[in-house]
């Protein structure tokens, strides 16, 4: 245990004092999140988006013809559309068939829309929905943090151990009574602490001015994050098991991480992408982290709803760890 904590301490100090890497790990995701939130905010030609179901009976509903209003006709389940109002993706839903309309209490637009529509939707019932708006950043933040986690885990464990092997630190360890198991576990724990802290910091830091929507439990979010970090570190260990060349290691890791980032839905939703790609993405730890944490944050999912992701992450972790330990060599 003494050996273990000493190695964790040394490795963590090495990270903290390597200022370049330290700030990179922290600033890169911060800048990305904020950059995207600026890039994707506003620039909408329409002032209001109104969803409609069915056709108006009798007289024309003239306010719906205003040029600043975008009309979206829905055939889908009403529940889904109401959910869109809850997330402020549309501002209003008018159901001509049932003579009802829906507004979001929390939305600034609702007041104006109520006045605009009051003359024409006379015998309609108003039903209210509550919910904070979901912006692109809310949806994006788990992706960015996940991506940063992936880089930090792969390179902070995989790459660093390859470097240790190349420059002889591992050989020096082999000459001591420290077992590979203790050494590697200590590396993992140190990296785990670093990654979980940076993830929390990035989230809390950007949250200060972006005020993310978190509908689910923070504790569950933390659990999913921890499990995912553990899984990604284990994945990085596979690369660390044998390789001696840093160039080869970083090449291979880039080769693997980039498709993961593109196909795990960091920047865009996987809905509508080819089936094959969606299936492939199920083998990436990042996909499960992103989907599970989006579900918790945005949909307020509980542990039951995200259980498939938790199981997938756990199984992958075990497979990665087994593979890495079979392959591992000091030299």
């Amino acid at each position: 245990m003494k050996k273990f904590t000493a190695i964790v301490y040394a490795r963590t100090m090495e990270f903290l004092r390597d200022k370049g890497t330290f700030y990179w790990n922290l600033l890169f995701p911060l800048v990305l999140v904020i950059g995207f939130s600026i890039a994707f905010s506003g620039n909408n030609n329409f002032i209001f988006k109104i969803g409609v179901i069915g056709e108006p009976q009798g007289s024309r509903v003239s306010f719906l013809e205003l040029s600043s209003i975008e009309i979206i006709k829905y055939e889908a389940e009403k529940e889904e559309i109401i959910e869109k109002i809850r997330r402020h993706q549309i501002d209003m839903l008018v159901d001509f068939n049932e003579k009802t309309y829906y507004l979001n209490n929390e939305a600034a637009a609702s007041e104006l829309l109520r006045i605009l529509s009051s003359d024409e939707l006379i015998d309609y019932t108003e039903l209210d929905v509550t919910g904070d708006p979901i912006r692109y950043v809310d949806w994006l933040v788990p992706g960015i943090i996940g991506m940063n986690m992936l880089f930090s885990c792969m390179f902070g464990v995989g790459f660093v151990i390859v470097r240790y092997r190349k420059n002889g630190v591992l050989k020096r360890m082999k000459a001591t009574p420290v077992s590979p198991f203790v050494f590697i576990t200590a590396q993992m724990v140190s990296r785990f602490i670093i990654v979980i802290l940076t993830s929390v910091l990035v989230f809390a830091g950007t949250n200060l001015f972006l005020h993310f929507v978190v509908n689910g439990s923070y504790l569950l979010l933390l659990f999913v994050t921890s499990l995912s970090i553990f899984c990604m570190i284990s994945f990085g260990l596979i690369f660390a098991a044998r390789l001696k060349s840093e160039e080869l290691a970083s090449g291979l890791m880039n080769l693997i991480t980039f498709p993961m980032i593109i196909f795990s839905g960091v920047f865009f939703s996987l809905e509508g992408t080819p089936k094959l790609m969606q299936t492939a993405s199920k083998f990436f730890p990042l996909t499960h982290f992103i989907e599970a944490s989006r579900a918790v944050m945005i949909d307020g999912a509980g542990i039951i709803q995200i259980l498939p992701h938790i199981i997938a992450l756990s199984v992958m972790t075990v497979i990665f760890l087994l593979t890495a330990s079979v392959l591992f060599r000091w030299e």
Binding site: K2, K3, T5, A6, I7, Y9, A10, R11, M13, E14, R17, D18, Y164, N167, G168, V169, K171, R172, K174, A175, T176, P177, V178
Partner: protein, 295 residues
């Protein structure tokens, strides 16, 4: 030699092949407890390969390594201190932190103060590992090697690259370790160092053991007498007893200096630059391996 009752380590027909390269080609010897044993040989002779097999770092292609007549096991690593020829240290941490880290690996480590004292680390104790000079680094690495209060230390070229003063200081450190009855296995390219520090020397070349003995015996067996050297003679046809040619240089090993000098004078040779000296290990090394140690 094979019935060395107080041997702390013994190797038996040790071999290591790298593809077709026979880095170590059947070496056997034993090391008595408490001595300083020197492993000498030119570059590429197989010193590092031999010592790393003895440390349990490299696995031999064939042959056996015994520590106190037992195969080396996990406890072995708690009992020995190792300094590699090229060691990397964890980066971004200080000498003190490195010592603390390595102390945590052993059951009964030496105290920090004791290590600092033995290896004179006071001045550099809070310096980053990456910012040590060659000599400071070697002192620090020796410090790591002696942490476990080892029964035996392995030092692979600990003084290579040090200035003469730093080398002398390092010898003092090794003498201190020897004084604790710690067995020392040392490789070096400096004959002078081996003569001063080592109780026993093994000379290896091309992966084979050429000679093993105390420095004194070795010299006595090979050269009893003096070595006369005449530089730049420009010919190789002189009939003087005991003469050999090293390039442009005539060398004569002789027991009868009077007779040799008379013979030399009779040749009418220009004797300018002639030297007479007692042969040392450098000369012996040259004789055995045909290469100078430091070439």
């Amino acid at each position: 030699m094979f019935l060395n009752m107080d041997a702390i380590m013994r190797i038996d027909d040790l071999k290591k092949n790298y593809g077709s390269v026979k880095a170590v080609d059947g070496i056997s010897f034993s090391i008595s407890e408490g001595i300083c044993f020197g492993l000498l040989g030119p570059n590429g002779a197989g010193k590092t390969t031999t010592i790393e097999m003895m440390e349990g770092i490299l696995s031999p292609t064939s042959g056996k390594v015994y520590f106190r007549e037992r195969k080396i096991d996990n406890h072995f690593k708690q009992k020995v201190g190792i300094q590699f020829q090229n060691t990397a240290l964890p980066e971004f941490i200080t000498v003190r932190e490195t010592l603390v880290l390595f102390r945590s690996f052993y059951p009964n480590p030496r105290s920090l103060d004791e290590i600092i004292d033995i290896c004179s680390l006071t001045d550099i104790i809070d310096r980053d590992n990456r910012k040590l000079s060659g000599g400071q680094r070697q002192r620090m690495l020796l410090g790591l090697a002696i942490i476990p209060r080892p029964e035996m230390v392995f030092l692979d070229e600990p003084t290579t690259g040090l200035d003469p003063q730093a080398r002398r200081n390092f010898w003092d450190l090794i003498e201190r370790i020897k004084a604790e009855r710690t067995t020392v296995l040392l490789t070096t390219h400096y004959m002078e160092e081996a003569e001063i520090l080592c109780d026993q020397i093994a000379i290896i070349d091309h992966g084979k053991l050429m000679e093993i003995d105390t420095p004194g015996n070795m010299l006595a067996n090979h050269f009893d007498g003096a070595l006369v050297r005449v530089p730049h003679i420009g010919r190789q046809d002189l009939q003087v007893e005991g003469s050999t040619y090293q390039g442009d240089c005539l060398e004569i090993t002789t027991k009868n200096l009077d007779k040799t000098m008379k013979e030399l004078l009779n040749t009418g040779l220009n004797l300018e630059g002639l030297t007479i000296k007692k042969p040392n290990l450098d000369d012996l090394f040259l004789k055995l391996t045909g290469t100078s140690l430091r070439s």
